[in-house]
């Protein structure tokens, strides 16, 4: 597992039923592109987050594949519909097999 990888998401805590909310996500990750070389001239192997998924109560909001051209500390902003109270589950998949996730609950007002 890569070190210092920390996800961060901004989700409103409340919403009205059916409201569309803006969600921001960030994960601290180097996103080693596989283009850089070390001091000896050897390619530093690629090691990135390659996929980011967002689900709400089990239904898909966004499924994003990422390639090395996504910047270090991948940031993604998008919109989601909140039909009912429930949980947003955010999942990031690392080239090295690690999976990072975080969950945020939304209450209907």
């Amino acid at each position: 597992m890569a070190s210092g990888v920390k996800p961060r998401v901004k989700v409103p805590k409340t919403a009205s039923a059916g409201e569309v909310v803006i969600i921001k996500s960030l994960i601290s990750h180097k996103m080693e592109s596989g283009q850089r070389k070390d001091k000896e001239g050897n390619i530093i192997p690629r090691s990135i987050i390659n996929r980011f998924t967002v689900e709400f109560n089990g239904q898909s909001v966004l499924d994003m594949t990422m390639e090395p051209a996504i910047s270090t500390n991948p940031y993604v902003q998008f919109e989601a519909t909140v039909p009912e109270a429930g949980d947003f589950v955010f999942t990031w998949y690392d080239d090295d097999g690690s999976v990072y996730d975080t969950t945020k609950s939304v209450v209907i007002v």
């Binding site: 210092g4 920390k6 961060r8 901004k10 921001k24 960030l26 601290s28 270090t72 500390n73 940031y75």
Partner: protein
């Protein structure tokens, strides 16, 4: 490599023309963070500087709109994730004494409020001018029994950012008189001394040419109220000494070590040039 390649030159010339049009600092921009924290990004120069400059202003004003907007929201600000990581570090036990920062300092927001704004400052007990990094390492080594952190490493930059956030919006206010005075004078001399193959002093760019373009960079006044800074260029937090080292190296001079007394003196002096600007750290720059 002095002869430009034909097509490269015309493309660069095109870019240069475009720069001429957008090069000016966004005079009217106002920095408000999270909708409620208004930063002072331009103010009257402090008394010690008033013969050289009328106004001091923040590096934030010299960046493009997209970069400026990254700093207006703590979520969009990529530097803030390192503040989060440092908050975890604040609470983590480290070293032989079984303590974390919070063991002595409790909540960082209470204990560190206003601290960054007055650093570097004279430390009576140690009888020296201390930077935040020196104080952090002193606590780690002597109170926590922990290893000291690399002066410009990620751990140190993150902790400096966490502590700086607790002064965010407050005016920089470092003391330049009293026991700190001789170090301040030393820093001032360094600032105005030409150095390196390019024979440049800090002042040549940052006092005499702020607002102009140096190649593709929009020169600022070189203030450090926003340090540690998240640079888009290396996608991480950078400390003042790391930047000083780079600047001196860029004049093609033998550069100084981070933590050296030269850089401590320079940090004190450069910080004082920003007295009155708001602490912006972690800021976002190119």
């Amino acid at each position: 490599m002095t002869k430009p390649m034909g097509k490269t030159l015309s493309a660069i010339a095109l870019a240069a023309v475009a720069f001429g049009a957008v090069a000016s600092a966004d005079e009217s921009a106002d920095l408000v963070v999270n909708g409620d924290l208004r930063m002072v990004t331009r103010t009257a120069a402090p008394a010690h500087l008033s013969d050289a400059l009328d106004e001091i202003n923040s590096g934030w004003l010299y960046r493009k709109d997209e970069t400026q907007s990254l700093q207006t929201d703590d979520f969009d600000n990529p530097g803030m994730i390192f503040v989060d990581l440092a908050q975890d570090e604040w609470d983590r036990v480290d070293g032989s004494e079984g303590k974390s920062c919070s063991s002595c300092h409790d909540d960082v927001a209470d204990s560190m409020a206003g601290v960054r704004a007055v650093y570097p400052k004279w430390n009576d007990g140690a009888e020296e001018v201390r930077t935040l990094a020196m104080q952090i390492n002193d606590c780690r080594q002597n109170r926590m029994g922990a290893d000291k952190w690399k002066y410009t490493g990620g751990d140190m930059a993150g902790m400096e950012a966490l502590i700086s956030v607790q002064s965010r919006g407050l005016p920089v206010n470092v003391a330049i008189d009293g026991p700190a005075q001789s170090m301040w004078e030393e820093g001032k001399e360094l600032y105005y001394t030409r150095t390196g193959q390019l024979d440049l002093s800090c002042a040549n760019c940052h006092e005499e040419n702020f607002g102009n373009m140096i190649r593709a960079d929009h020169l600022s006044q070189g203030q450090i109220n926003g340090f540690p800074v998240y640079r888009l260029k290396n996608a991480k937090l950078n400390t003042a000494h790391a930047r000083f080292k780079g600047c001196v190296r860029d004049t093609r001079a033998q550069t100084y070590k981070p933590g050296s007394s030269e850089f401590v003196a320079l940090e004190l002096y450069v910080a004082s040039r920003g007295n009155g600007l708001s602490v912006e750290a972690p800021s976002v720059r190119n």
